[in-house]
């Protein structure tokens, strides 16, 4: 499995390069230069030119890209135009929170999605199945930030079951970390749970009609074992693809949901940066999110090999 992983990581490099071009290109789509943003309105052209030179903005584009990209590879995304704080400091401080929420959402969506989809498939056409299909349709339509607002209020404020606000790092207290993540993960995960449940139901129904499931039953295995051992693993293969898409959705959603629960993630920062056109921070967030998503998808590609041995050899 290690060589596969290494190979996939190398294969992801061109994609990262392309994303870096896009992120870098952002700056140059903006009317005016970064220096104008820093100095504010009313800055003299001389002062702008001076700062341009200082920031290297008067150099050819290729050189600017090289400077930015070589810094980015080392984790140096420059300084915020607004606070002049190192962008990397902000990212290191705040991304783990966002990633925690996104991971929590993914766990919730997998748990609910896989169980819901499996139950629906095994009860195909019955009341339970129809109820689940109704729930998945609703789950796909409910905006996660509304769910977050409602959950925070009803379970965090009205009934003090879970914290409605705040975050505790896993190194500080593992149980508190999980405790604080429960409501945000639920709010974030329900929509993706619906997507996964639909895929799981379809995948399992497809697999249950395959000859090898009949052959497994022919061996005298109990139906429960046939479903869990022989059908689930195969039904999972299309689900994994969906999970890959959802990983990206989760990261975007976490930026939103974490703010509702007052968590010190990247969300508040990025919204502020967007409003202030603080591009180095926006670039940093875009790059780190892209790399996180690409890494996740690489892991998922590798996990195919576990579920589908035919992939392993090709």
């Amino acid at each position: 499995m290690a060589p596969t992983l290494a190979f996939r990581l190398v294969a992801a490099v061109p994609l990262v390069f392309l994303v870096s071009l896009l992120a870098f290109g952002l700056v140059h789509l903006i009317p005016g230069s970064a220096s104008e943003t820093i100095l504010g309105e009313g800055a003299t052209p001389e002062a702008v030119a001076e700062l341009d030179a200082e920031l290297g903005l008067d150099r050819p584009l290729i050189e600017q890209y090289w400077n930015w990209a070589s810094g980015a590879v080392r984790g140096d995304f420059g300084r915020s135009l607004v606070t002049s704080r190192e962008v990397s400091d902000t990212l290191v401080e705040r991304f783990p929170v966002t990633i925690s929420v996104a991971s929590g959402g993914l766990v919730v969506s997998l748990l609910i999605g896989v169980v819901g989809g499996t139950v629906a498939a095994l009860r195909q056409g019955r009341l339970t199945d129809r109820l689940i299909s109704l729930l998945t349709a609703t789950g796909l339509a409910v905006p996660n930030f509304w769910v977050a607002v409602l959950l925070a209020f009803y379970f965090g404020v009205q009934r003090d079951w879970f914290p409605a606000i705040g975050y505790v790092g896993p190194t500080e207290s593992l149980t508190q970390w999980i405790y604080h993540l429960i409501l945000p993960s639920l709010a974030l995960g329900l929509g993706s749970a619906a997507v996964i449940a639909r895929q799981m139901r379809g995948g399992l129904l497809d697999v249950l009609d395959r000859p090898y499931v009949r052959a497994a039953r022919a061996k005298g295995l109990r139906y429960r074992r046939v479903v869990i051992v022989h059908a689930m693993k195969n039904a999972f293969i299309p689900v994994i693809t969906v999970v890959g898409f959802q990983a990206s959705v989760m990261l975007g959603g976490a930026v939103l949901v974490e703010q509702i629960f007052g968590m010190p993630g990247i969300g508040v920062q990025v919204v502020g940066a967007v409003l202030a056109q603080d591009l180095p921070l926006v670039q940093g967030v875009v790059m780190v999110s892209a790399v996180a998503v690409i890494l996740m998808n690489t892991l998922i590609d590798v996990s195919y090999a576990y579920f589908d041995p035919r992939v392993r050899l090709s």
Partner: protein
Amino acid sequence: MAVLRRVVTRPSGTIPLIWLAVVGFCALFPTVVATHDPNAADFASLLEGPSGAHYFGTDELGRDTFSRVVDAARPAALAGLQAVSISLILGLPIGLFVGYAGGWWDRIVMRVVDAIFSLPGLILAFAIVAILGPGLTNAMYSVGFLFSLRVIRLVRGMVLSVREEPFIEAARLSGAPTTTVLGRYLLPNMMGPLIVQTTISFAAVLIIEAALSFLGLGVQQPDATWGSMLRDARSFQRDNPWIPWPPGLAITLTVLAFNTLGDTLRDVLAAGPGGGSKAPRRGVALGLADGATTAARPAVDDTADPDPEALLSVRNLSVIVPTSTGPAPAVRGLDVDLRPGEIVGLVGESGSGKTVSALAVAGLLPRGVTIDPGSRIHFDGQQLVGLTEARMAQVRGTGIGMIFQDPTASLNPALTVGYQLAEPLRIHHGLSRAAATDRSVELLDRVGVANPRERLRDYPHQFSGGMAQRVMIAMALASEPSLIIADEPTTALDVTTQRQVLELLVELCDDLSMAMLFITHDLGVVAEICDRAVVMYAGQAVETGDVHELFATPDHPYSRALLASVPLLDDDEDRLVTIPGRVPGPGEQIVGCRFASRCEQAHDACAAGPVDLVTLAGGDRSSRCLLSAAAVEDGA
């Protein structure tokens, strides 16, 4: 238009359309629907709950929530229209061009699209809003751009599949300019999927728009959008718990409506022209179904008892399958006996019911296919019909081994051969892991798989068809069965392998004194390995008897036709080319002999009433033919 009518006649089309019409009306004429000025503060009634004066209550400035929700329909509709139009304006030409031009253009653009897709959509929208500045229109530009990528992918994919169609090629060869070909031939072909995609995009756009507004990156105060109302609601929930519900429900219901409408459109378009008119057909189907089941009730002697000396004794087996005209019997009153160690062939064309009979004996019928409760299947003295799934699993695991037609599809691709082989050994025989492995090696060795210990670690796709079938046979042997049911075990194999597998099966039956029910369409194989045979036609046994006698003097016209066609038997297709006509389906109502329509010797009496299976002069043979019945009476 026909599509539209079919969408409207379904509740899953009507209800979303009604809701979207309501939202659309609010967007066009907000002042007609709204009861108050949506932006008028009223400090006398702050944060009130729902009442006659304020249907949905009031917010922190005393503004009427109902009127604000109604008023927010306009920005939502505008945002959706803007974003979706931009996505189409950008995506359609690019997708068409890239798909049609192909080559480097295609590769480069699609690579960039993939790169952008790897970013979380919301974060990308942030980046674009950062460039353009906040505001609803800018937010919608960014969302429109994002969704144009989906359109590019969809359109490109469709162009790629359509451009290979002969009529496009012909248009191109006839010298039509590229734009004509694209406009006249490609676009109409992709309207359907594009409409579905656009409908579903509307839903997604609404959610992103609401999210951006919620974050304060969309519409600026004081104008209401559903997203910004939710944002404001957060601070005042404690004083008025109602406050987040109306905007949240408005978003959810509208998104749900678009999604459901999209799904319905997809279903209707997939059904194709003329499809989808279910209601009248269902009525007809019920009428036919009643007739079919009553008419088909097999006229077999119900009093015939199972043979006590037989290992397997099947009496009056009827299997009901669903057909387009309702449930109908695919097997009609079959009787079969297998003594211990005996090999019996079940022969017939596709549609004769032979495989369904075999699956019924093993209790492995697909969902929706049922055994008529009047049937009896005695195995080892036990009645199998009506056993629970768990008891039936026990019987299969310890007494009956099954071998299927397609060995590579019958092995689980995700599990090693060793695991699949050891599984029944550990479950039914309680062997330890090590003992199960040793026994698996023995079994693989017994069926002729080379290097058995190493091959246990392999996956099914690493086995050839013949080797995979040997593994299946080993798996069937694992339960130490007294009966093997082999359903066309050699059909999927090449000719040389067929012979080896057949020889192996016969040898194993002899050595382990197992009985075998052998299902095949191949009379040659029956003659070679079976002791007795049952010839099936359209769900019924038409002739049974000792193989040598049956082959020497076939009695039933169908058996004779079948034998006559042996040399011309097409190996690739499970079909006999020399008997004109086709096997009647389970749902077809035939009062008389089911073979009569294809029989050269058919006469008027054949169609008059059901024909019974009669015992022939020899005593051990029977045939379902009026001619034979007459001959028996003459002889008696």
